[in-house]
Assembly symmetry: C2
Homo-oligomer: 767 residues x 2
């Protein structure tokens, strides 16, 4: 065999073109006759929509149309957010799209949008999550009850909480519970096992807390954008920055009533998504393009993206847990309330509730998940949906528990962490999990062992995060071209350097250099099927399909080489771009020669190609443990991260450079959750942080050096042992910081982000 | 099983959109910033090119550039026609592109082209095929000797005569012969077997003749067109009306020096090709788009297409053959001279020579193939390249032989026709061939048996044609979509209703209704490999790949249905859009349900997809016999076809309606060869028939009712026994007409087309 590609650090393939600016994003597409859309966003947080006066806008030169909900050719009854791209009868949040102004130019559309008058009659707005669940709360929606189960199912592919949990990899457990306490409580679910009350009663120590986390935006660099047009034969083409081409096609088919084969979704290059780019703008843009019979682009401005898309929702988590004096956990009890915003078809409460158990063994649990409507933007998925809030609550309490028990926090976790053969609260047996190994890796780290010698106001915190990993079928084809290079084709969205992962897997499997593998993305017309890029499952599912496709092509290659060389396939090896007879390298044939001979008139050989389809049935959960070293300014409450270490079980690091990048990016986003990020609204429900000036993403002056420790506990069904690595690293960064703050200055924060004012207030309380 | 799709007549899928005008052809593509090209064509037939004065053109508003050969970024040494898209140093034919004027609009380019001044110094022009091969002929090319073998090989994929023959299905035989008799003879090849001289000497009867056929244009409705642009990342995209996407990509890679994966060929819908659309305009358009960094379209006007493309070349065939008194053929001797025009990389002389033997057994043969340069447009492929002239010579002489021997012409052919197990003059054993069955079908036809009772001036002629069938690897993938419909993906060009054939094959193999199969064409970036659509091999090769892909998908389907139903796969059947347990139809699952369940989050099933790759190693030659009934006006020489019957071995008629269409279309084109079509040039080499006003395609007032007899001798390796049917029907129509003329009025024509003046002259000679 040639030198292995696996485990070799290589640059991201999409890096150079993105840095050079030669990548063509969806918004860069140049289309003949393209129209431009601009949204008219609602001002009120909740109002009766009496009408839209478009006369002045339509009078502007260059304005082609002003579309409202009634103008869109959507199937009646199409539910959920996708079925309601523009407000109908009722305005549900400040920032909701009410009309789409279409112009011959961006400027015309923009000017037109400024002239549209929305006639709305204010209604009581439901803005506070805790007030929303009170029995006496006014309803956040008056006209139409949201269809949480059923109607919207086909549209998003992930309509209700159960499906959403599945999409991102969690297995829901337990039954539903009816009797909502307020008109805004749209889902309630209870998950129980054992006798939690007895477990808590029998515990030597019980700790509890009430945790709040805010609305957080995914912060992708490329705002939401979509382009759509119809071909003369009626085919609808949608070029979109989407995480799921086939899922989007399905959604559009349901919404527009078009057969699947009359819709072609071309997955564009994605400028960041993190869960937020799943059929959001496309229904509107597609419907408008069908209506107007012209190509249309809608590209949100940054402020619109903050106000009108689908960020991670606010959560309220109440949790109590107990342990024996030896530090054995006895029971977990609590409630997870998640805001669904005004559009109810996406919620994180179920998965977040399940994740409150962490990767630990619980003799008993009693957890309740509550999904709540408010007059806020609809909730969406963001890297490990629901996991950071759950980990913030659980891991903070575990830290407190260790403190109360006088146990080393890592030791407490090691005594309870799930390992292979254990069962989680969902009752499923854990196949392989490297959580223990991650904790052990941190225990040996000098930052942990040396934490006692830090100056005053500094501290080190530890926390463990967990992500169950998603499953969805995927397929790939591969083709040896006449130049001896291999082409891999999938429908996987361009995200997180998947091109590299596929190339590494194919190169290793087929037996050529990674640079001789090209990775192509097909559209829904011609690519093999593949699921949504989300839930940390692309490498685990698509990657496995790529491995199979390359293996099948290699078999064909050896069969053909065997015929040409008259040597049995088992006596041949593929290396360095050649097929070589073992022991007779002088008779080697170059792949390019073999391929060119095969792909020609009269060739007696079939193409050297392969197909791989896969349905993983075993999950490959990921775990990541963090050490956070912070310095707290007791005068101002400012928390400064000094150092950060993450140990993550990555299964097998196909390309350590890219895996490191995921771990660093996830940790950085976790620091954003911990210290900075919050979509802040005023008392009228108006967004106050609608730009990166007000919405504080962690930048390089905030993020400390991040040290990554790659723990490799191979996933049996992953390609070369690899598993998804995208979501785990964000999960436990916030509690690691919170625990570091506690270690530094002795106060425990219950609300994210841990802003200077909150820390200062906590210090004041403690003083 | 459901009712079979095989053998059921169905409409062409591409028919309705083409009739309605909703098909988007390459020339209809709307591209942002598109530039338009217009060619400056040479006036002289042969000249030294001293320069091009573009100043006046460049001064015109809207003219962007005037490109000449030196401006194109083609690799030095790139040979053949593809390497010489614009004249360099020397003008080789009247009509040769000398410059490309590029404008912001068609009108600007057109106006600019009118202002370009070509400075050329006339050279002696070689215009007559017979004079061109004389030792004293001036050379048709002065500056550069054409590279017949070698240099151009990579570019066209079919550079020399051997490869060309292969491309269209013939196996060359015999060795090359050097020592050209004139500077214009660029290839000579002799094919021998047995002792032809002895065979002729021993024959009871010998007949001979000298036959001439003209340059004939393919007459496609859509003139040549190509569009190209470069993406910001440097990828060259070529959208072309081409018969071979992968072959074109290979050619462009060689010419432009770009890696294969930096070129994406998007095969567009083809508005007729018949062999003429193989990398002709694309090298120029691609090179210009790379040079100008702007999207560019070049769409030829009809007159340009007549003057500057690649029609079938003129031929001169001298043949003599002998037979015993019992009508056993003894020997065949002769020479086939084919014009290659001014660009030498495509010639039909080798295959035409091989086809002069027809589908008959010859104890001895001695044939010479000669390829000749002249100052005419370069030769190209046209439906069964070289076959109609060969059949015209051979089948006319056989008719004469039968007359001399007093044998029924069909009986004479039956005594000598090849059947399974016989060997052709190439020495290959014939596997399966339905030529005999075709003759037998005609022998029973009332038109044949009743031919003795026709009025004066009318006659019926018979002739048999043959096409060896091409081979080239091909592949397909298929995918069951969530709506229960099957998608087939190949790189096969849209020609001749292949969508129907693929759908029929897939439907029958998989087990669903043909309407539930969609056929998609992929581009070279993501489609599995496939060869050129030519040589009557698409159904035979791609079709077989489709069958395999559908079979593999069906296996997956049954495996998944088996798991869902807990019934063994062998106890399941697929029919009417369902998987049904045998004997328990009530437990059937709809394909759509199964597919939707499979293609979803958490599905335990891999996608229901399949891959099929194929390399046919056995040829499936086709044969077609014609009866032509004509009326000859002895006063004017006008020949009027009265009726026409074609009996063709089609292997298995997957869709009789489409097969009938091929037989009728081929017969009609054969009538054009016989009676009407000729690219006529004046004594200066100027084309006189540059429009459909002068170039007479057979129209409906000329073509008589054509009766088709589908003879089904299954091809063992064809999908469901099918074989290629495109080329055989054109081959023997001309000699059938010629033999009918002889039967009607007793004169034998040796030159095509058999115009009234030629027939009248022959009648005069005979009177």
């Amino acid at each position: 065999m040639a030198a292995t590609s696996i485990g070799t650090a290589r640059r991201r393939r999409d890096g150079e073109p993105k840095v050079r600016g030669t990548t063509r994003f969806t918004g860069d597409l140049q289309i003949h006759g393209l129209l431009h859309g601009r949204l008219v966003l609602a001002g009120d947080a909740h109002a009766r929509l009496n009408g839209v006066d478009a006369a002045a806008a339509l009078a502007l030169p260059g304005v082609v149309a002003v579309l409202t909900a009634a103008d869109l050719p959507l199937r009646p009854g199409a539910g959920g957010r996708a079925g309601l791209p523009l407000a109908r009868d009722e305005i549900l949040w400040s920032g909701q799209p009410v009309a789409l102004v279409v112009g011959e130019s961006e400027a015309a559309a923009e000017d037109g949008a400024g002239l549209v008058v929305v006639d709305a009659e204010p209604l009581p707005a439901v803005l506070d999550l805790e007030a929303a669940i009170e029995a006496g709360s006014p309803p956040a929606r008056v006209h139409a009850a949201p269809a949480v189960d059923g109607g919207a199912a086909g549209a998003h592919g992930a309509p209700d909480d159960e499906a959403t949990a599945d999409a991102h990899g969690a297995a829901g457990a337990g039954g539903s519970e009816q009797a909502p306490s307020s008109p805004n409580v749209v889902t309630q679910r209870r998950m129980t096992g054992g006798d939690a009350a007895a477990g808590l009663a029998a515990a030597a120590v019980v700790v509890s807390g009430r945790f709040r986390t805010p609305w957080v935006h995914q912060g992708y660099l490329e705002p939401q954008v979509a382009v759509a047009w119809t071909e003369p034969d009626g085919e609808l083409v949608v070029h979109a920055s989407t995480q799921g081409a086939f899922a989007l096609r399905q959604s559009l088919s349901s919404l527009l009533g078009l057969p699947l084969d009359k819709i072609r979704v071309r997955p564009g290059v994605i400028g960041g998504a993190f869960g937020g780019k799943l059929a959001l703008l496309e229904p509107l843009v597609a419907a408008a393009a069908v209506k107007l019979r012209r190509p249309l682009r809608l590209a949100l401005a940054r402020s619109e993206d903050f106000a009108a898309t689908n960020p991670a929702p606010a959560q309220l988590i109440e949790l109590e847990l107990g342990a024996t004096a030896e530090g054995r956990l006895t029971a977990l009890r609590g409630r997870v309330v998640a805001d669904r915003g005004a559009v109810a078809d996406m919620g994180v409460e179920a998965i977040s509730t399940a994740l409150c158990a962490g990767p630990y063994a619980w003799p008993a649990h009693d957890l309740k998940a509550v999904g709540v409507l408010t007059n806020r933007v609809g909730a969406g998925a963001y890297r490990a949906p629901g996991a950071p809030p759950a980990a913030f609550a659980l891991e903070t309490l575990l830290d407190e528990l260790a403190q109360r028990l006088g146990l080393d926090p890592i030791e407490l976790r090691l005594r309870n962490v799930l390992t292979a053969g254990d069962r989680g609260i969902d009752g499923q047996e854990v196949a392989v999990l490297g959580a223990r190994e991650c904790l052990e890796a941190l225990r040996e780290h000098p930052l942990w062992s040396g934490r006692g010698a830090l100056p005053a106001g500094e501290g080190v915190g530890v926390a463990l995060g967990f992500w169950p990993g998603g499953l969805e079928p995927a397929a790939a084809i591969c083709r040896l071209d006449a130049d001896g290079r291999l082409t891999i084709v999938t429908a996987a969205a361009d995200m997180s350097g998947v091109e590299n992962a596929f190339a590494t897997i194919a190169a290793e499997t087929f037996g050529l250099a990674e640079d001789d593998v090209r990775v192509a993305t097909g559209d829904t017309s011609s690519a093999p099927y593949g699921g949504v890029s989300g839930g940390s499952k692309v490498t685990y599912t698509y990657g496995r399909a790529v491995e199979r496709a390359a293996a099948e092509a290699r078999e064909r290659l050896l069969r053909i080489a065997s015929a040409e060389l008259e040597i049995a396939p088992e006596d041949l090896e593929v290396a360095d771009g050649e097929v070589r007879p073992l022991g007779a390298p002088g008779r080697a044939i170059k792949l390019a020669d073999l391929a060119a001979r095969t792909l020609s008139f009269g060739s007696p050989h079939e193409p050297i190609e392969g197909y791989g389809g896969v349905a993983q049935v075993s999950r490959a959960p990921g775990a990541a443990a963090h050490l956070s070293h912070v310095r707290v300014d007791v005068e101002t409450g400012a928390v400064t991260p000094v150092a950060h270490v993450i140990a993550q079980d990555v299964g097998r690091a196909l390309n350590p450079a890219l895996v490191d990048g995921q771990l660093m990016g996830g940790s950085a986003q976790g620091l954003g959750w911990a210290l900075l990020e919050e979509l802040a609204y005023d008392e009228d429900g108006q967004l106050r942080s609608g730009s990166f000036a007000e919405y504080a993403l962690p930048s390089f002056d905030v993020v400390p050096p991040i040290e990554t420790l790659l723990v490799e506990v191979p996933a049996p069904d992953g390609p070369f042992g690899a598993k998804g690595v995208g979501e785990p690293p964000v999960v436990a960064a916030p509690p690691a910081v919170a625990n570091a703050v506690a270690a530094a200055v002795g106060v425990r924060l219950r609300t994210l982000p841990m802003t200077p004012s909150r820390v200062w207030a906590a210090l004041e309380d403690a003083r």
